[in-house]
């Protein structure tokens, strides 16, 4: 039995379960499911002969046997320890299944709707069907086909024109340490109306011993003037496999900022695609990946400048220790007649060990002439002179390396405005620092304190 067949059998299992439980599905879902399954069957899992998967071997996924999640049970206390400690509008999924118990939509403002996909489908499946799959179809990759075949749960976020959501909308995906590894194929759909604004956080985290497979597909549609900050904080358990694609369709004057932060997972692949379809559209991609042990993390980004006067700016930082492997592939395509565009890309990687490896490849395809584009990629080690200089001040070696590693990530991290995310990153990247590293606020606070008490005025 081929690897792909194992997955198709699971799909059949699921379909007959639904039938037995008489959970009917809209015909369009059934049709798409069948088409996607056929597509997946034809494609099979990608191999390293496929250009897009040249450096990432997914055999460990393809040869695996992942059961279907049965329930979303998760202790409240255990979940609390994993949840980002921020006030938020929150949807929680356990192994891909929705947990109402661990979700909180009480702060949802009017004009915004945040729902699990199952609910959105039950309420009005036609309203979902038009948008779902419009950006990421089964052709995108075998994984998107697989995801589409399993379409069932996920998150649907809809913002009416002009809606401003102040609190972050957190989509929390918990991976549970099960007796048998499970898989989930969540969908994320964001439809942001004209001039709406929101921050969406996808947070992947779980129990340390988990070894599950998450295959998520996200689609974001930004209408004119919409502003969306998207954080992906992937700190999945170290045994997890994580495959994700996020496709963004940007209308006129829309602004999309992606923070793609990957700290966890055994094998991780992210595809991030923006289509800048009308003038004034702007995409900022900030990425940070940190891998240790034998972690493998692959980031593929693609910006399509489909219209004139569109802007993209990308900065990815990779930190690899031990025998970790990283991949960065950043592609920018400027269509013919897309004049007056600006596209900047930079990627820097830090190798903390001799055995860590990175494959970094920027790709620019420019078919217009009036453009400003630049790209660059660098790979280096920690500056041993700086390590020495810090140690001569009494700072121990581990802390010195931690400080310098964080400093490397600094350019990206400085722009993270959700403190709880910055803290998670600091702790993971810097290891055990003897004091809170992010001193900026502390310093400002104590400066004020010194002023207030007049202590500093002699």
């Amino acid at each position: 039995m081929s690897g792909a067949q194992t997955f198709l059998n699971r799909l059949e299992e699921r379909v007959s379960e639904r039938q037995a439980a008489s959970l009917p599905e809209p015909t369009w879902i059934v049709a798409r499911r069948q088409a996607a399954a056929a597509r997946f069957e034809a494609l099979g899992f990608p191999t390293r002969r496929d250009e897009a998967w040249k450096y990432t071997d997914v055999r460990r996924i393809g040869e695996g046997d992942f059961a279907l999640a049965r329930d979303a049970a998760f202790s409240k206390a255990a979940a609390a320890a994993l949840t980002l400690p921020i006030e938020a509008i929150r949807l929680t999924f356990v192994d891909g299944l929705f947990s109402a118990e661990l979700s909180d939509l009480s702060a949802l403002p009017s004009g915004a709707s945040v729902e699990p996909l199952s609910q959105a489908l039950a309420d009005n499946h036609e309203a979902v069907g038009g948008a779902l799959g419009r950006l990421t179809g089964v052709e995108f990759s075998p994984f998107s086909a697989l995801n589409t075949a399993f379409t069932e749960e996920g998150a649907v976020i809809r913002l009416a024109p002009g809606t401003v959501v102040e609190l972050p909308i957190v989509l929390q995906f918990l991976s549970r340490a099960n007796d048998a590894a499970v898989m989930s194929h969540p969908r994320v759909l964001v439809q942001a109306g004209a001039r709406s604004q929101a921050t969406v956080v996808e947070h992947y985290v779980g129990e340390a011993d988990a070894a599950n497979f998450t295959n998520v597909v996200g689609e974001i549609l930004l209408e004119r003037g919409a502003i969306l900050n998207h954080y992906k904080l992937q700190e999945a358990p170290l045994g997890d496999f994580h495959i994700a694609s996020l496709h963004v369709d940007q209308g006129r004057d829309s602004r999309f900022t992606s923070f793609n932060i990957n700290l966890g997972g055994a094998l991780v692949r992210n595809d991030l695609v923006s289509d800048l379809n009308a003038q004034g559209a702007e995409a900022s991609y900030l990425g940070l990946f940190f891998a240790q042990g034998r972690q493998h993390v692959d980031n593929h980004t693609l910006v399509n400048h489909n219209a004139p006067t569109t802007f993209s700016n990308e900065n990815y930082k990779g930190i690899l220790g031990d025998r970790a492997r990283g991949v960065f592939n950043g592609k920018v395509i400027v269509k013919r007649d897309s004049q007056k565009i600006e596209a900047y890309q930079s990627n820097a990687n830090l190798l903390l060990s001799d055995r860590a490896e990175i494959d970094a490849k920027p790709e620019l395809e420019i078919y217009a002439d009036d453009v400003k584009c630049s790209h660059g990629t660098t790979t280096g080690q920690l500056d041993e002179k700086a390590v020495f200089a810090l140690r001569t001040r009494g700072i121990n070696e581990q802390t010195a390396r931690g400080l310098l590693t964080l400093a490397f990530a600094g350019e990206v991290m400085e722009q993270v405005t959700v403190d709880a995310i910055a803290e998670r990153v600091e702790r993971t990247v810097a290891g055990k620092l003897p004091e809170r590293f992010n001193l900026t606020e502390l310093v400002d606070a104590s400066l004020n304190e010194v002023h207030d008490t007049g202590l500093g005025e002699e």
Partner: protein, 250 residues
Amino acid sequence: MLEVKDLHVTVEGKEILKGLSLTVNPGEVHAIMGPNGAGKSTLSAVIAGNEGYEVTSGSITFEGQDVLEMEIEERAQAGLLLGFQYPVEIPGVKNVYLLKAALNAQRAARGEGEMPAPEFMKLVREKLAYMKMDPSFLQRAVNEGFSGGEKKRNEILQMLVLQPKLAMLDEIDSGLDIDAMKVVAEGVNSLRDSERAILMVTHYQRLLDYIEPDYVHVLVDGRIVKSGDKTLALELESRGYEWVTEESAA
């Protein structure tokens, strides 16, 4: 407090220090002078723990402890601090992080807890004012884009915060204009007391006008060939190094 005995040091197979001995007691200020390439920076770098140098024989003890057995950071925590001739730029690490991490490391080594933030900020601001440095320096990356003079002030700022028992200053006067020199010298002088000692490397009498040494040593070709009091520096200033070399060869 510092005892260097018959120290031999090689770099990439080349012998730089060829039997150097030096004793520094608490309360003393020592100046080391000598021609370029004599081994002055090598001496302070070896004491600080730079791993690029190989000590082939001899010993260094600090307050009875074998310095050569200590980790780089342990030396600093014990109160041995080097002010670099060429301070390193450390992009992304803010000055205030370095100061806080360094001070807390030193306190931890002494079994003390972290200094509370307000107390720390008060201390740092006092020392900054002393060095006539703008508070904005705290938020800047260590030495990044600093002028030569600012780098040197920054080295002394670290000393003032960390209060070393033995401060080693390698050409702290190079690249300083006269006003900066005064500020730096004042900073260094504030470290002087009966418990502490200073070992400074310089080429110029000018610094010694501001920081008066108790002893002046002449280091030539890996050895201290002559020692004296501060008048020796004046003599070197007017006569150069050659006569010392000839005298010692004789």
